[in-house]
Structures are given as C-alpha cells and as structure tokens.
Symmetry: D2
Subunit: 317 residues, 4 copies
Amino acid sequence: MALVNDFKWKKGMSVKELVSSYGNIGFQSIELKKASDVIVKMKKNNAKIFLTFTSNMVTSGLRGFFAQVIKLKMANVIVTTVGGIEEDIMKAKGEKFSIGSFENDDIELHEKGINRIGNLLINNESYMNFEDSIMPILDKLYAKQKQWTVSGMLREIGLMLNDDNSILYQAAKNNVPIFCPAVTDGAFGFHLYLFQEKHKDFIVDVVKDFGNILLCTSHDEKKAVIALGGGVSKHHAILSTLLNGGAEYAVYMTTAHKSSGSMSGATTEEAKSWGKVKDESDVATVIGDVTIMFPLAMINALEELDEDGILKEKRGK
Amino acid sequence: MALVNDFKWKKGMSVKELVSSYGNIGFQSIELKKASDVIVKMKKNNAKIFLTFTSNMVTSGLRGFFAQVIKLKMANVIVTTVGGIEEDIMKAKGEKFSIGSFENDDIELHEKGINRIGNLLINNESYMNFEDSIMPILDKLYAKQKQWTVSGMLREIGLMLNDDNSILYQAAKNNVPIFCPAVTDGAFGFHLYLFQEKHKDFIVDVVKDFGNILLCTSHDEKKAVIALGGGVSKHHAILSTLLNGGAEYAVYMTTAHKSSGSMSGATTEEAKSWGKVKDESDVATVIGDVTIMFPLAMINALEELDEDGILKEKRGK
Amino acid sequence: MALVNDFKWKKGMSVKELVSSYGNIGFQSIELKKASDVIVKMKKNNAKIFLTFTSNMVTSGLRGFFAQVIKLKMANVIVTTVGGIEEDIMKAKGEKFSIGSFENDDIELHEKGINRIGNLLINNESYMNFEDSIMPILDKLYAKQKQWTVSGMLREIGLMLNDDNSILYQAAKNNVPIFCPAVTDGAFGFHLYLFQEKHKDFIVDVVKDFGNILLCTSHDEKKAVIALGGGVSKHHAILSTLLNGGAEYAVYMTTAHKSSGSMSGATTEEAKSWGKVKDESDVATVIGDVTIMFPLAMINALEELDEDGILKEKRGK
Amino acid sequence: MALVNDFKWKKGMSVKELVSSYGNIGFQSIELKKASDVIVKMKKNNAKIFLTFTSNMVTSGLRGFFAQVIKLKMANVIVTTVGGIEEDIMKAKGEKFSIGSFENDDIELHEKGINRIGNLLINNESYMNFEDSIMPILDKLYAKQKQWTVSGMLREIGLMLNDDNSILYQAAKNNVPIFCPAVTDGAFGFHLYLFQEKHKDFIVDVVKDFGNILLCTSHDEKKAVIALGGGVSKHHAILSTLLNGGAEYAVYMTTAHKSSGSMSGATTEEAKSWGKVKDESDVATVIGDVTIMFPLAMINALEELDEDGILKEKRGK
C-alpha cells in the first residue's frame, strides 16, 4: 500500500517531479497524479481520446495548450461549446483578451464596452471584428455546399485559419473532428441565423453530425474521455462513447460536486457502471480549477510519454 | 436598514411565513427571500419570463412543478437540455423513476439495468419504452412536414401528450415555446439520427430556431430570466434576452461558484452590466440545491401573487 | 422502493407539507427530508443530542431558533465557537445586527466602523458595548471562584442574562451544557486575557472541561450528533461521542464537500465506521446553507413530534 | 493591462516556469500566481508571517513541506488545530500513514482498525503508539512546571523530537511559536485530561497564551497572514494581527466559498477593510485544494527569493 511521504522542495524542481510527489501528498493532489497516470495509460493502450472543454477555458490561455495537445495526438475527438469556437477564431484573427478581476465593477466595464468572463476581459470590438471575419467565411462555405454538419463546417473553418495556436486549425490539420452540439448558443448562432435569413436553403444539420460522432469510433476500439468542466460537452462525449459500448478510461476535472445530481458534477465512479472500466487505475476525478490542474496532469503525462518515446514517434509523423 | 431577527418556529407554520422570515435570518436565506421578491416583481411588471432548467431537475419531482408554473403563466419561454425533454415524455407515458442513494454501488446497478442520476434511478426499460414511443411520434411529425425547428417539434409532441404534469403538454397548451439548443445530446438525438437515416430529407433546423427565440420577445418588452442550474440552458436565455437589449430582472439559482469563470457559476452581478437592471431589488443569485430552493422561492411568490389577485386573474383565462 | 413524485403547489401549503414532499423530489431535497426523519428518530429513541453550530449562524437569526430548540429539549449538549457566545450575549444585551450585502464595499464599511460577516453587518459599537458588559460579568465570576471551566463559566453567564431568545440563557435554564473548546479565539478571549493580566490567579481550565463533555454521556446512553457547519464544533462533538462508543444517529449540514479531506466536509458515511449506526435511516448529510435547511428539517421534525405528543410532554415539564 | 497568453508546454518545464505562465492563463491560475507574488512581497518587505493550516494537511505529505518552510524562515508564527500536532508527533515517532480512496468502505476499514481522513488512512495502532509516546512527555513537562501555555508546551515537545521533517521540531529550533487555541479537541486533549486526573494541579493556560500570540508582534511591525483552509486557525491569525492593527499582506487558500458567511470562506477582500492593505497586489484568495496549490505558489516564491539571494541569506543564519 502506498504511503504518505513528507514533501520537500528541491531547487529548480520540474513539473514532473512535483506531480510525481503529488501522488504521495494527499486529497486532490493524489487524484491529480492519478489522472495523469490514467492519461498515460489511455495513450499507451491506443485508446481513442475524446477531449471535452467549455468555452471559458478557450477564453483562457489553455486555448494554445489544447491546440498543442491536439498537435501531439493526445486528443482524437474534441467536443466543446460554441463560445470556445468563436473565441478560438477571434484569437486566430489577432484579437487579444486581457486580465481583469473577479471583483471588477460590471457597470463601469459595460460603459467601456468590455465583457467580463470571471477575471478575464473581452472588448466588444473583438465581437464586432468576429462578425466581420465570420460573414465571408460563411459565404465561402455556402459556395461549396448548402448543407453542413457542424463538424464539417468547423473543419473547413480550421483550414482557413493559419495559427499554430488555434484549436480549429490544429484539429483540421490533424484530422481531429470538433463536435459542438449546441452550435447556435452564441454569437456564431446569431450570425448563422442572419446568414440563413439571406440564404433560405442554408442548413446546419445537427442530426447528421450525431451520426458522425457516433461513427467516429466503434465497439472494438478502446475509448477514453478526458472531460474538463461539465455541461453538454462532457455529456456528449460520454453519450457517444456509451453508444459504442462505453469508454475504457475516463478522467474528469471539474469544480462541480456530485451532490446536485448534475452532469457537471458526475464522477468517474459512474464510469464503472459502463462495464468496461477494468479497475480503479483506469478512472480519476479531480475536483478543482482546470486552469491549474489540467496543465499539471497533462504536462506530467507528456513528459512520461516523451521519455518512453511514444510522443516522439507520433510527433514524427 | 433591515435588521437580523431571531427566528422562531410557530406550530403549523406555512411556507410563506417561513420564506418571509428567511429575509431576516442571514446568508443564503436572505438571498432566497430576495429571489422570491424579484419573481413577484417581474410578474407584477408584466415581464416576459424565460425559465431555464437542466435535465436532472426533470428527472426529479420538480417536473410537475415546472408544468404547474407554466400553467400558472409564471414562465413564458422555456430553455432546457434534451435529457429533460426525454424524461418528461417518459413520465407522460407512465414511466416511474425511483429513489436510490448517492452511495449506490454502480457496478451492481449496471448489472440490474438501472441508471443512476445522483440519488435517483431510471430503469433501462424506461429508455427502451421511450424508443417505442418516440418512433411513431417522429413518423407523425414527418408526415406533416420534413423540416422542423426544435421548438416547433416540441410543441407538436406536447399536444400529443395528455398529462397535466407534463412540461411539454402544459407548454403547448399555454403557447409557451420550449427551446433546446443541444437537441441531439441525448437518447432523443440518437433516435433523430436513426430516423434521418431512413428519411434523408428529415431536417431539424436549429438555426431557424435561433430566430424563433430571438423574435419571441423584443427590445420594448420587459424581460426576466429565472435560471435554475447553469450550462447551455442558462446561457441561451441570457444570450437571447441580451440580443433584445437585456433583461430587467434576473434570478439565478445554482450550486456553482463564480471562481471558475464558468457560465454555470456566473452571478446576477454581471446582469447589472447589461444596463437595464434598475437596482439591487431586480436581481438575486442564490447558491444551493434547486430542488430545495426553487419550491421555496416560487411558492412564496405564488402565494403573494395569489393574494394580490394577480395569479387568479391569469388562472381564469 | 420509493418513487419520484411530481411536486405540486397547494395554496397555503405548510412547511410540513413541503418537507414531506421533498422526500420524493430528488437530490438534496431527499437528503433534507431524511435529515428531518433522523432528527425525529433520535428524539423518539431518547438519544442524547449534541447540537453544534458555528459563530456565523449565531450572527444570523438562527440564534433565536437555537434557543427555542434548546427550550424544546431538542438539544442536550451544545458545542460552538466563541464568536457565537459573544454575539449571543451582545444580542441579549440589546445589540441589533443589520442586513447588508455580500458585495458591500469593505473599505467604505471600515470607514463607517461596520464589520461584515457575509451579508450581515455588526457595528464596532456593539463590540465596545460587549466589552462594557463582559467586564463586570468576569468580576462576578471571579468573586465566586478563581478557576473556571468554559462550560461552567457559560452556564453562570447564561443565568445572568434574561432573554428568552438567548442560547446561553435557555441552555442554563434547561441544564444544557455549552462547550467551546477554542474559547480564546475571539473578542471574549481578549477580555479574558486582559482580566487575567489584572488577576493572575484567574484560570480557565479547558482540560477539565474536556472531562465534562466526556462524562456528560456514557457508553450505555444512545447518542446523536446534529452538526451544522464544520470545524472545531463538529469535530468536538464527534470526538466526545466517539470516546463514549460512537453516536447512533448523525445529521450533518454543511456547504463543504468531502473532496478536501477536511472535518467540515466529512460526511455521515464515516459514521457507519463507528460500528453503532444500525442502518441508512440513522444518518443523513445535507449539502447547502444551514440558514435555509436547518429551519426546514427541524420545523418538520418539531411538527411531527408535536403531533405524536412527544414535544408536548417535554414542554409540560 | 496584462494579456491572456496561449500556454504551451516545453519539455522539462520547471514549476517556476509553469507558475509564471499561470499568471496569463485565467481564473484560479491567475489568482495562484498572484498569491505567489504576494508571498514574495511579504518576505521582501520583512513582514512577520503567520502561517495557518488545518490538521488534515498535516495528515498529508504537506507536513514535511511546512517544516521546510519554517526552516527557510518563510513562516514566523504557526497556528493550527490539535490533530495536526498529534500527527506531526506520530510521524516524528515513526508512524506511517497510507493512501486509500475517498470511496473506501468505511465499515470494512473499521473492522480492520483503520481510520480514514478523505483518501488517507491512519491505523488505530498509530493512535495507541501516540498514547505511549505522549505520557512520558507530559511527565517531563510536569516535572519542569505545573502550568503551561499551549505554545510553551509545544515548544518543549518540539525540542524532544528529532526529525528534520517535523513541524514542531523545526518550529522549536527556529524560535517559531505554534499556537493551537483548541488544544483539547483531539486525542491529545484526552491525554491531557487523563494526566490532569492524576495531577490535579496540572494546568494548560489558554488565556495566557492569547497574550503570547498578541504580543508576538506589534502595531509597528509589518504583518502577513497565509491561511491554508479555514476554521479556528485562520480566524486566530486574523484576530491577533487585527488586534495589532491589521496585516499588510494576506493570502488565503481554501475550498470554501464566501456564500455561507463562514470564516473558512471569507476572502481577502475583507482584508482591505483593515485599512492597512495598500493595494490589490497585497492580497490574494485562491479557491481550490491546498495540497495542489500551496506547493505551486510557495515553490515559485522560494525559487524567486532564492534567485534574489533573500532565501540564501536567511538560510546561512
């Protein structure tokens, strides 16, 4: 049985050394180390990895890391909400988001034309520039075909961007589909609506896209879910892997708790009920803020996989 | 300035007496009383009320209360996730959900064919029966027309149900549109997909439905949001009222906190930044479980409105 | 197996009717109803009830309710923190606390000489008046004897107060000991220190008081813990019942979660490990704000016990 | 204004590089970086640092880190709960704690004589061995003098231990007082009680110790509070710095939220009301698990201070 070890700082300590120590500290640090181990395991066992995140994480600087994770073949399917799509495009087009405070005066911000997401700030101008960018993009899409699935559309958009740090760009380049079931729930939805008003035969076919996520894997393939935050993104990945027999590996990171019965707070305990999880070492739930925890768990996994030559091999492709 | 009062139990105390006392107890009890007051105020000022909830609340017994709230004209627009739609239909078709425990053994439940949502349980059989119910419904819809908006489809389904406690039924009967932007994110999405496989021209048009929620109100009309839980439902109601100039009134009830920057945890403080909220008495955020808090706040509001003859008037229609 | 029932409002609904319905709604409402049932059970089975709460709850209007609960013999031992003692005395001496906001400007409040506890406000003046009240009280205690246990001291102070809504007063009158292990952690501690500076032989003997809480019950007696919030109060009640063989009944209400490994977030699951809890119906953990939940659970229990003549009997004594 | 930056992993990344990046990611990662900066600032400005933690953190491997932090002169006053004292002594005497799971079967553990604190496990044997260790220690203390303050007693015990990783040992060696206002709330309290039963004139004087914490600093000295977790420890440090005019710097790390009005969830916003905090850069509140966050913030601060020669200088003393 593993023992609690006294943690000690060593000068110049690496993230890998710290996360390794976490495994013997206690409480959520243990779960975080376990999450990292499960990520290593899912990769080594060639599972198809479904990575889900919410739009506020794309507002944050995790956006570039998600793009890198895709590039490193650590995510094979993406599920997210439309705000994340919008903000990835905004950033790819050069918009800058700035850092404010949870305690900012919202009325004052409103007068300055600034929108607040937690302690991050987006100017109204960025949304207006997004409108200017998206309309010609929709024109191009429409010129190609009248009916689109969401993932199909996002792939096309990704190919039009040219930003190494863009999630859409890296996903398109690496053949990673991005699913976004609630595609109309954001400024993008508004622009789709305006476009359709002018082009009545323009259709976004979400039902067909359900087929795409369903068929992007199979019962035979090993499957893994890394769900950051909750909501529709998390649920959609779980649903589509379940319809394929359930995931063998699952890592959930969330600030929500299971006490309200919400999807956001559902733990990987339930994953055991899918009947495919082999043992405790295949699942981990970590409670806390993803902006702190996901880099820790993923960096440690990347370092380990890199040492084992698994990351390098893929990178070479 | 209001004072803290020593709370005392009186035999046979009514919910209204208790919630009234809450206003002078402290912490979340004060916020809950305030939420109830904001609900009364939005109704008295004839605001169009957007009520949002997540699917786990429909799993719970709040489902009948939501139906009643719609019947009593206390909600004019509904936004929810597709799990809630499915379960409302299941219950209308006679399925029974049972009460388990947060600590149930999930592997054991799996072997018995039981699904757990927090401390509530749904049999696999209920999902199978849902499949049997939904297919002929889709046939009927398709016979009428090939392209549907989600809200249009849900209205038709509501009219086919015959259950006073059904959200879809009461919404259809009372001309309350139900929006569900992520309509494919559930068993219903799977059935839509299977149906489309057989009927290639069957289309669910989510873009057009964005127009419907956008145009269901206007800049001139007073608007209110009651958001129970977070996620896409909450965001969609806020987005569509914002595009109409912002809501004058907002009540959020959630277990999420603002510290993660998520939509689920966003408070009504931000609502002030919309520029239409007049003062502190127009918004309230209550932290806690909706199954306990929403009945308290809404019952107190219903009793007050009933005493003032406002509820009665509407009921008579 | 109990079923989920559609909840419906009835005009004039009582708290008892609502809490009864809670048992069939879902998530925390079910746990709250269970908590109420455990309270009824512990009383009917003549368990010695340890009630613990934190000082912010005494800042709130729960203070009068705690006094009433003691008067109604629903609490036989109290454990709390010293802030609660101070504020109970302040209120007994006529101080009024007022209602502010979680969003108050703290710098502004500071300039006005106002202290904020969440959304409640206490004037500096109240603390100064407390100083004026407590010094003659300490003089009287010292005149009687030089060494005091905390519970002995609090009993004497309770007898000096004359306020039906006072926790100390009702506890003293009803022979309910109040334990406060961290007695110096507040303004009261400061005054004890100043007093001791002038009277070097004045001693507060916390070690002896540990004996008092240990010996206030026994292995043979049935024991119950109702822990509101966490911290030292909760831990002290659990410790002293454990040293007497463990409690048969336990109700925890808290906003903390078990994920951090803290005492505040520890659930009643662990109570099963004491070996005396007979079955699931003897323990309940409810997650949420005590100002909302404790009145609900306790009122329902009081109404039930009153109907069964159990409360009346005691009241007649 | 600082901008959000796309985060990218670099092979062999150090903790310092990661925490530095955190400052431009978002949400709690920004607050964590800020907390680290405040720690650097308090040290550079020679503030007296009050470090508080709860006993579950001493159960965890943070115990060795706390000892190291004391040794490195990064904490000048300690406030904790008695469980932490007990477990520090147990570990110094060679007891090993092991790693379990939040989902362990508590009844089974009970049968095996194992106690669970979150996902950590302590054998009953360790408590029994503690009893064997503590009794001769109390004998020695009593032989020296009959009346002890808590901090005086803990200093003596620290000097009897011989473990570089022990909090008590390092504190005693480095003249860092340890305050523990609720000293009887644990097994140690029970042993003090048993000892007093045999030696009636043995007194633990908590009132006198209040004077010690009060006089360990002054109005003139700069003061800082690093509060890990909440409860009595956090409150006691805030109280004693407040009575000395308030702290100039404050870092709070907690899983509690301010919504319940508890001390555990109180944020550093309130610290501004003390009137001594100069600006935003002097305070930080981070929401999350201390086992993950404290090492990150403190390691980054240690690396920075070390680079600036500030840590080295102190170390040389």
